[in-house]
Symmetry: C2
Subunit: 342 residues, 2 copies
């Protein structure tokens, strides 16, 4: 029972099983029910296994152990930062696996938890994780690359968010701000911890009597819009002259909420964010933000993942850290000199 | 050689093939190379086929003919409209196939053509097409649902873009505009043809001596920004007092380009779009646009596709057409009374 040297075809399977090619086709295309008897179907499956017949991607995956898919676990594909990471990852995986046709499976779930079942069910060869803490269960050997999660071990591509946060702190200190409302994302992710810690430390070092107060909300435009509409009077009454948001979608939501509440930006309250999504350049006013290279993050991560899939025993190298830089636009200005009365 | 009534386990495969469970594991996980002889590997594969052993998604797919994946063919996942369609489709496919674990594979390629190889290679059970004209080759029987492509035959979910376009034409006519620069997408898609035709017909019916001039560019923010920066003086010199873009990303790019060129919106030139992506509400100025329900488009399409996958012979019903409506914001106003001098 030796395997033929040339690749088996459906006609070979049919000959071995003593059936027609049409019968083989019914079986491999899942159309045997009502057309092919169970006994005949088993003969065909025996022949398929014996000949190593590769019918399509599923059969190829079974024969080779390769699924030719990688997954990107992400938070919310409607966040333009995530969409850019995904676009970069799709380009990177196509480039790095040229000829093998690896595909990107996007696992994102809006504000809910992503469904990681396909990772556990072994439909992928590796995973890019841009959703810290979402570890695929039950597959400890699965190749994984962490994106923008500086606290993660293992293979990772990160962003120099601390450098960007310090530049932003310096910019606001130079403008004369002393009291910041820091609007964090309501996820305990290391990239957010690092952004806030670096910003607060630099701001405190630059500004005598600096205050960095906290608020937090979901990482989307609507949640920040609602929060800013409700809370902006409190923020200003407390003495805050600038809102720094952990992400641009939150910062843009704050801009919309302040507009709804009749608060002028930056005359009465400055606003800044992190990411530099394309829409940050066309907001009202255009947003001062720490630019993070989302597309390159996804691209580099995918190329790294392809390498780990090829050689799972490759040692973990030093993390790739991509640069961040401050982009100053119209949403930040000198602090308002008059505090809003209650 | 009958199949056991209970589901076969790895231990059953091992017993039939006369090998250890570890050997079965090596074979099904693609780690046989260097560990399991070719003859033994074949015995294991024979046993797998004979027992109907279901190891993981790939094997299950081979046994059932189901891949438990559907694809969304789309233009550019960084366009928030597409991202919303994808989010809706992911939710819809999860909801409609509860318990079967269908996943959404996103095939989008920025401004290039998407790679439809996985569709041809049968890694999916069906396809949502939001990229008109991209037909998967070689699988004429594959379940397909067309999204926002009114000229497509077969199963489809569409948007009432004509109603929205007429509302926009009426709004601009009421403001006193007579000369429109219509910035189309540079793709010959039926939804764009329908938007433009309905707009132009309604505008002509409302405004004596109406002029609707054309320009076009790629469907992204940067392309429209470049075009508006270069061409806005020509547009105004020709007499246009408003730019209507076929998509919001183009309209937002025009806003940024007009800002760069020093053209005041809407005082010197009004701007409007189609889609109502979330960022249209926070642009400078906020964008007047025809709201199209992207998330519901994806959701309804996925539910329909799941039904077609379940029953491929189901008759094609009347197309679902989701409503569009005009949202008036600050980017449209009365026409400038003084024409720019050359």
């Amino acid at each position: 029972m030796s395997r033929p040297l040339r690749r088996a075809r459906a006609v070979d399977v049919a000959a071995r099983a003593g059936v027609s090619v049409a019968t083989v086709s019914f079986v491999v295309n899942g159309k045997a029910e009502g057309r092919v008897s169970p006994a005949t179907r088993l003969r065909v499956l025996d022949a398929i296994a014996a000949l190593g017949y590769v019918t399509d991607a599923s059969a190829r995956a079974l024969a080779t152990g390769r699924r030719r898919q990688v997954a990107l676990l992400a938070h919310d594909m409607t966040n333009p930062f995530t969409a850019q990471v995904a676009a970069g990852a799709a380009a990177g995986i196509a480039e790095a696996t040229e000829g093998t046709g690896h595909l990107l499976l996007l696992l994102a779930a809006g504000l809910a938890e992503p469904d990681v079942e396909p990772v556990g069910a072994a439909t992928v060869d590796g995973v890019l994780i841009n959703y810290p803490g979402t570890l695929p269960a039950g597959r400890p050997d699965l190749p994984v690359v962490h994106l923008d999660d500086p606290a993660a071990g293992g293979h990772q591509v990160s962003l120099d968010v601390a450098v960007g946060a310090r530049e932003l702190a310096g910019h606001l200190a130079d403008l004369g701000h002393r009291h910041v409302l820091y609007l964090d994302g309501n996820r305990p992710w290391s990239t957010f911890v690092e952004r806030r810690a670096a910003f607060a430390a630099e701001f405190a070092a630059r500004v005598p009597g600096a205050v960095v107060a906290d608020d937090r909300c979901d990482i989307d435009l609507g949640s920040a819009l609602d929060l800013a509409t409700r809370r902006s009077a409190d923020w200003r009454r407390s003495g805050a002259t600038v809102v720094v948001a952990a992400t641009d979608v939150q910062a843009l939501g704050v801009l919309a909420g302040l507009h709804a509440a009749g608060v002028a930006v930056p005359a009465q309250l400055s606003v800044a964010g992190f990411d530099d999504i394309p829409f940050a350049a066309v907001s009202a006013p255009p947003l001062t933000t720490v630019a993070l290279p989302a597309r390159e993050l996804g691209h580099r991560g995918a190329v790294l993942l392809a390498g780990v899939i090829e050689d799972p025993d490759a040692p973990v190298g030093a993390p790739t850290v991509l640069p961040a830089r401050l982009v100053v636009r119209g949403s930040t200005g000198p602090p308002a000199t008059v505090t809003l009365s209650a």
